[in-house]
Every structure is written in C-alpha cells, then in structure tokens.
C-alpha cells in the first residue's frame, strides 16, 4: 500500500522524467523589511530527502510554506510529482506537513488525528482502521492510539504529527524544523527514525532546518539559502568539502578562509599564500577549483583537512606555531599562527600531542576556492 505513492494519489504524470518537486522561477516579495525571493529554481528527485538550510530569515520556511500552499508566490510554478500545483489550494495538494510545534489538536485522541487525515484524503472507510494501525506501528505509537496529546511526551507528540502527515500516503512530505523543540538525545533518535521512515516509504521529503548536523546526517542533498537566494545545492559530503563560497562554508562548519592568489592552473594548482609562500596542490584536492590564473580567490580549508606534521617533514606547505589548544575528548582543536597570514588557522586533530608554542608543519589536504567577497553575512 505504501510502495507506490503516485498510484495511490492518482496523480497525473505529465513528464516522462518525473521530479518529486520542482520550483521554477519562484518569486515572492515580503514587504516592509522582508527580503525578496527572486526567481528561485529548485528540484528534488522522486524519493529524495532534501534539506533546506540557512539561518533565521533566509527564506527556507517561506519556501516550504509556498510548496505547501500556505503562501502564494507572486510568480513562478510549483510542481509536485509532476503535477502543477501552483494554483491548487493547500488542502488539495496531497502533501504531508510536520510543524515545528507539532500542531496537535488537544481535543482529539491520537487515533482521531490519523482518522482525520485519512478522512480528508478520501481514503475508503473500510481501509481506515488498518491504515491507522499501520502508520501508528510505523512510528511506534500503537500503544498510545487512544491517548490525548496532553498525555504524551514531546517526542511522542512529534511522532503523532509525523504519522498524521504520512497516513494518507502523500506525494511529498514537508517538515518545518520539526525537531528544534526537542532535547539533544531525543533529537538524534528522531533524526534516525524520520530518515528510516522516509527511506522505507520512498516519499520525497523537503526538510527545513537551521541545524547543520541534522542536515548533514539526514539528507540526500542539501540546499543552502541566504536572503532568499539559493547558494548551493549538493550532496552533504560535497557541500561540506567543496563549498562554493565562504557563507556556505561557514554555515556547515568551522572553516579557514585564506585570501590567496592563483598562480597557475595545470595538473597542479599553484597558489600563493598571503605570507608569500607558494604551494602546489594536486588538482583533485580542490573541491571548487579556481577559474582563471592571476585571480584573487579565497581558499577555504576545513580544520580537519589540515594535516600537522613535524617541521622537518618536507611535505608541509607552511610552518607555524601552535598558539592554543582545546581538548574535547574525541579530538583536539589547535589555533596555529603562521607568519605572514592575517589570521590564525584552526586545525583539528584526533591525537592531543601538540603543545602550545611548538613549531609544526601544516599541509592542506583538501581545499576549495571561492570568489573573494568583501563582506560575508
């Protein structure tokens, strides 16, 4: 029953190659101090788990609500499962929405919540009972079917919300920061569960979050937004290792941004660092390679992609002094000052062996290049 959603929905497939979600040229201007979304294009494949990440106010929730139909774009088209829903009212779009505050109805039992969703999805009455049991089993709430929301814990309430969204086998699942109100352990457990359920059902999912770890761990792809614009959309590992700009880089983790000059681009990259040193990097070590020689670019390096070695070791690119260390159990973080570099570099290592004041050699294992910007938000 839950395997072929598109059949269950009776949706018209208008294109042969069907995308789970398509946003085309979406524009929306929120007057009075709000930003503008201008010409946003976004696609998610059928069955894909796509995260929308960004700080508060970047437009991710707004975009999500447009997909749900709770907001109307000024222009552009929205297609879910191949069907154009731009002019379709929210209650006819066959989507499931999980709210941040779980939005449960205090006057209904858990079972009634699911029945409500099924009723308006026009599921035949004979099937309702079995579907309720099935979806409650899916979220491990079978024993709570006749409880009211006030009798449930936070995590259980969110599961009801998820079950309610999934019960009618929607074409798409939309989640608006569903786990922000839960404590850390519960959050991690729910992340695994949500992902597992989504994969099992194969429902296309659009997941809005401001928590980068959540996005990195759960998603098939991540879309980073800033001020209404899409900055980068890529798989978690690529977007982490090869961010297109410093904003995206910083959003997903600590990053070292080193202004540098590109000297040459061949099989190896010749880069001159601010301290004058020239280094050579193999081309495949560069996530986003620079475009042209003689250009000023920002070199972005993750702290865990800088290798520390002995100064005597010849393989290092630059040498520096350990300024401070911070031990956090599974790793150690060092701030290393390199002469001639504007800021200290952050390096993360598994072993805790460097002392402050010691000289070390640094080698850049994986880097990415971005256009130099004067101001990074």
């Amino acid at each position: 029953m839950y395997t072929s959603r598109t059949e269950a929905n009776g949706m018209n497939m208008t294109t042969a190659q069907q995308q789970g979600l398509e946003l085309e040229g979406i524009s929306l201007s929120l007057g009075k101090g709000g930003f503008t979304i201008d010409g946003l294009d976004l696609q998610a494949k059928e069955g894909e788990f796509l995260s929308l990440v960004g700080p508060s106010g970047c437009g991710k929730s707004t975009t999500l609500r447009m997909v749900a139909g709770l907001l109307s774009p000024d222009s552009g088209r929205i297609r879910i499962g191949g069907a154009d829903v731009t002019d379709v009212a929210p209650h006819r779009r066959r989507i499931g929405f999980v709210f941040q505050d779980h939005a449960l109805w205090s006057h209904m039992t858990v079972r009634r919540h699911i029945e409500f969703a099924l009723k308006y999805a026009k599921v035949p009455r004979a099937q309702v009972r079995s579907r309720v049991d099935e979806v409650l089993g899916l979220v491990h709430l079978d024993r709570h079917a006749d409880h009211y929301p006030f009798e449930l814990s936070g995590g259980q309430r969110q599961r009801v919300s998820i079950a309610r969204a999934l019960a009618p086998a929607p074409a798409m699942l939309l989640l608006d920061e569903p786990l922000s109100n839960l404590d850390r352990h519960l959050r991690e457990e729910m992340q695994r569960e949500i992902r597992a359920i989504q994969q099992r059902l194969g429902t296309t999912a659009l997941y809005v979050t401001h928590d980068r770890n959540e996005a990195l761990s759960m998603s098939d792809r991540i879309a980073v937004m800033q001020s209404g614009r899409l900055q980068q959309i890529d798989t978690p590992s690529r977007i982490y290792e090869a961010p297109t700009n410093e904003y995206v880089a910083r959003l997903l983790g600590p990053i070292n941004a080193i202004p540098s000059t590109i000297i040459s681009i061949t099989t190896h990259l010749g880069v001159r660092l601010p301290n004058g040193a020239g280094i050579s990097l193999p081309a495949d070590a560069c996530g986003q390679p620079p475009s042209a020689p003689d250009s000023q670019m920002t070199m972005l390096v993750r702290p865990d992609n800088i290798m520390l070695c002995d100064v005597a070791d010849e393989r290092h690119h630059v040498a520096g002094t350990v300024a401070s260390t911070m031990y956090s159990g599974s790793s150690s973080e060092y701030m290393v000052e390199v002469e001639g570099m504007p800021t200290a570099l952050k390096v993360v290592e598994r072993e805790h062996i460097r002392e402050p004041g010691s000289r070390v050699g640094l080698r850049f294992d994986k880097v990415s290049f971005a256009e130099e910007v004067d101001d990074v938000a």
Binding site: G69, L70, L71, S72, A89, P90
Partner: protein, 301 residues
C-alpha cells in the same frame, strides 16, 4: 492562502455584525439634527435641539445628577477597590478569595435585581428612597471595575519589588505609595474610567432608585420617550454618547482597548498607539487574568 467562499462569508458576517451594533448610534445621531421630528433620513439640518436641551431645566438637572453620581461613585469605588485589592494581595486567606468574588458579583447580577433589592430595603428602612441609596447603588454597581483592574495590576507586580522596598527600609505605607501605586497608575485610571462610565450609563438600577425629582440622565431620557418623542431627546442622547465615545478613545490611547478587555492572548504586551507603558514588562509566570476566560478579562463590563 487564497480566500475562499467561506472566508468571504465570515468577513461579511463580521462586517454585518459591526454595522448591526453601530447602526442605532449613527441613526440616532443623525436625527438629532433633524428639524422636524425623530425620523431618518433627516429633512434638514439644524442645531436648535441642542439649544433646547440646554434650556430644559429637567435635562440640565439630570445631567448634573448623573455627572455628580458618576464622579462620586468612581472615586469611592476606586478608593475602596484599592484598599480591597491591596488587602487581598497581602492575605491569601479564603475570606479574601470569597470577598473578591463577592466584590465582582455586581458584574453578573442584572442591575435591575440590585435596584429592586435596594428599593425594597430602602423602603423598609426609610419609607422612601433617599438620594443616598441611589448613590450606594451606584457605588455597588461600579465597585467591581476598580477592584478587578487593580487586582490584575497587582498580580503583575512581582512580590520581589515590594520585598526590595521593604528591605531598603520603607514601611508598608511607604511601599504602597512609592512602589505599588506608581505601577498601578494605569490600572487605577482604567478602573476609575470604567466605574465612571458604568455609573454614567446605568439605567436598570437607577430606574428603581430614582425619585420624581432625582433622575439620572438615562432615566430622564426614558421618561421623555414615554411622553412622546421630540428630537431634543436624540440631541441629548448624542451628547451623552459622545462623552462615552470620548472615554473609549482616551482609554484606547492610554491603555489599549484590547488588553483592557482581556482580549489579548497571553504573551508580550503590545504598546498601544506608540505610548510607553509605565508598568515594567514582568515575566509571564504570574497567571495574569488576561487568560481567555470571559469573566476574568481585565475589565469586561
């Protein structure tokens, strides 16, 4: 969300509701300018009826009586209300709880009932209904409003403020004067304003307790209506209404009508009309009476 038919229907019903409750006011106001009779639409425009009002001795006397009653009741019930509210705050005894319920009872008891009771009582004691009883009736009627307003206001002041003052050396009176009263200024004003208006507008109670010479304004208007209506009544009514409307506008500018009537949901208070409140923003822990329950709104009449 695009508006659907249900939305349009709802908005239409709401608009109809507003029209419904404001219609008599406007119609009546318009007829006050009608030179001929109390009809609508007016057949002309004249201000002569307003002049007639001022020349009518009975009207003028009624205005004065209502005014005096309103001011007096507001003052007395505010004073009593302040004392009672303070006392209830200090002691958490059951008596205090019951007292507050008792104090608020005139809100739910129809005014006519109070009037009948006091009428019978006065007749038994004095054989007649002296002006004093009318005053007492008005005080009883208006008592709930300052009490409720001040109780709500006091509930918003955390006890730590009093304790701080006390530890600094202020006595009880000092604390009240220097700490509590300044915080309560708005509530005191709101409560008195409400008391004034309730007394000014009262008909049910006053009908029973008015004598042939002593009539409050609404009773006087009603009496005239019985005798046959001429537009001086509507002129007078317009004046009376304008006083009330002015009161509402003042109230909205200072406190904000919505918060006043307990219509706001619990949450950060909004500053109405851009004015700053004198009361500090207290943490939401004290269960303030602006929780959505009709009889615990701050000042629902």
């Amino acid at each position: 969300m695009r508006p659907g038919p249900f939305t349009y229907l709802t908005v239409a019903a709401a608009a109809a509701g507003i029209v419904f409750i404001l219609l008599p006011l406007f119609i009546m106001a318009a007829t006050a300018f009608n030179p001929t009779a109390i009809t609508f639409p007016p057949e002309g425009f004249t201000l002569k009826w307003f002049g007639a009002v001022l020349e009518d001795a009975r009207f003028v006397r009624a205005i004065i009586i209502s005014l005096v009653l309103a001011v007096f009741s507001a003052a007395v019930s505010s004073a009593i209300g302040l004392i009672v509210a303070l006392a209830i705050r200090q002691s958490k005894s059951r008596i205090a709880e019951h007292l507050s319920t008792l104090m608020l009872s005139p809100l739910f008891i129809p005014g006519a009932l109070l009037g009948i009771a006091l009428y019978q009582g006065a007749n038994a004691l004095f054989g007649t209904v002296p002006l004093g009883v009318l005053l007492v009736g008005h005080i009883l009627l208006t008592l709930p409003f300052p009490v409720r307003a001040l109780m709500a206001g006091l509930a918003r002041i955390p006890t730590s403020l009093e304790e701080a003052a006390f530890l600094s050396g202020a006595g009880f009176l000092g604390t009240v004067w220097h700490v509590l009263l300044p915080q309560l200024r708005l509530h005191l004003f709101a409560g008195s304003a409400m008391a004034f208006t309730m007394s000014w507008n009262d008909f049910d109670l006053s009908l029973f307790l008015s004598g042939t010479r002593v009539q409050t304004l609404p009773v006087e208007i009603y009496g005239r209506l019985q005798l046959g209506a001429d537009p001086s009544i509507t002129a007078l009514s317009l004046i009376v209404a304008l006083v009330s409307v002015a009161g509402v506008i003042i109230l909205d500018r200072t406190i904000g009508v919505a918060e006043f009537a307990g219509m706001e949901r619990q949450g950060p208070r909004r500053t109405p009309g851009g004015r700053q409140r004198s009361a500090p923003s207290t943490p939401s822990t004290p269960s303030t009476p602006s929780h959505p329950q009709p009889d615990s709104g701050v000042l629902t009449p």
